[in-house]
Symmetry: C2
């Protein structure tokens, strides 16, 4: 994918990019449901059928946009992680969460495309699974590094069901060897819950309920970090829960 193979191939990749750009524009403006192949082609000065030389169907165009969106939010998360290098795990956690939320607020339709309702009969092709995992892996890496640095608070969780244990052990083994299963389970839950918070804010569920969006999100995300065990040593002292559990 390096050398210039010829004028045709270069033109092809340029046109493909132009189509995606225009499609992304319309996506951001009107949403995924109103994305029209004909409108994209029209805007690009070509006829609709010509577009099918580049994307075999509307769904394939959407898939390309989905992959891009996953990569964009993943890159935002990773950048926030890298920017917070050296800081306390809890701070990095909040930074990454905030980055994801900021991206979502800035690109609501793209967010909806990947974390909202999947398009009708559409099942995500395998090309999307790797980009889709970037945010999750970013969050996971925070816990992994915190664990490696001995800064992870592993709290005695009321016994983890065995089936869940095997699920999270499999994940931990692959991406964060040594990570305690309860932490991994809490992380997966926090991961899903994070997008619950963002989705509710973005899709209007918080209207007339939560007005202080920023502060509420920050508060909730801090709570999530605590739930995972990422609470920094400074703010950890607050909560000595009633020790009412044993494995």
């Amino acid at each position: 994918m390096s050398a210039i193979r010829g004028a045709r191939e270069r033109a092809r990749s340029e046109i493909t990019a132009a189509i995606k750009d225009e499609a992304r524009l319309q996506l951001a403006r009107d949403g995924a449901a109103k994305l029209s192949l004909r409108a994209v082609a029209r805007e690009l000065g070509m006829v609709s059928s010509a577009l099918y030389r580049y994307f075999p169907s509307r769904d394939d165009l959407l898939t390309a946009l989905i992959v891009d969106a996953y990569n964009a939010v993943g890159a935002a998360a990773e950048a926030a992680l890298a920017a917070g290098d050296g800081k306390a795990p809890a701070a990095r956690w909040t930074a990454v969460c905030r980055a994801v939320r900021d991206w979502a607020l800035a690109h609501p339709h793209e967010y909806a495309l990947i974390y909202g309702t999947p398009v009708p009969g559409y099942t995500a092709p395998l090309t999307t699974v790797e980009p889709a995992g970037r945010v999750a892996l970013t969050l996971l890496s925070i816990a992994r590094e915190a664990h490696a640095d001995g800064r992870l608070v592993v709290r005695p969780v009321d016994s983890l069901p065995r089936t869940v244990h095997t699920d999270v052990e499999r994940i931990a083994a692959e991406y964060a060897p040594g990570l305690p299963a309860p932490t991994a389970a809490a992380l997966v839950a926090a991961w899903a819950q994070l997008f619950g918070l963002i989705g509710f804010e973005l899709f209007g569920q918080f209207n007339q309920v939560v007005e202080a969006r920023d502060a509420f999100f920050a508060h909730a995300v801090r709570s999530l970090a605590h739930q995972v065990g990422l609470a920094g040593p400074d703010e950890e002292a607050a909560i000595p829960d009633e020790a009412a559990a044993g494995t």
Copy 2:
């Protein structure tokens, strides 16, 4: 809405119901995006333009379905709450959460309609906000009653931002007077997070990540209850794995 005003009005309400039923059928089968007025009309043996006598536009039909869906999931939640009357707050919490999830799994497209991406340029009319609040109010009432019974564990939350405090105070004042602000804040967060968990499971984000869906959900929901402060002292020991003495 009681007396039979006449044959015409009865026919009208019957046809309206038939349209909604058929639309709900197609919604469940193909999803909201593929819901076609013409197809509904065709299936009912009428011509498409006739359908506009009953619903002025496709969006209005969708709105009707949205209201129905909110009421359905709300009713499911309330039923679960009523069924668990007298039980420990945590048990009632999990029961309600489970009921919402069960409803979602049984009606994925209807769930997506109300908790997924909002339809394109669509802004929810005011008729939807009351039904939309039923699940939230059900969850809130658990905390309210637990608080009234002195079974609410109010844990010292690291200081609640003042703006968030006023938000949740407003909610508490209206629906659960006396409920501590930290609890109310935790509840709102848990509410959103609950739908994060359900959405991720339903929309495929848990594919190849979490396989033990039931157990994971139960675990996560228990954790949410604990976060809100609903963990009853008796409930704490009741785990499906080790058959300990429950309530």
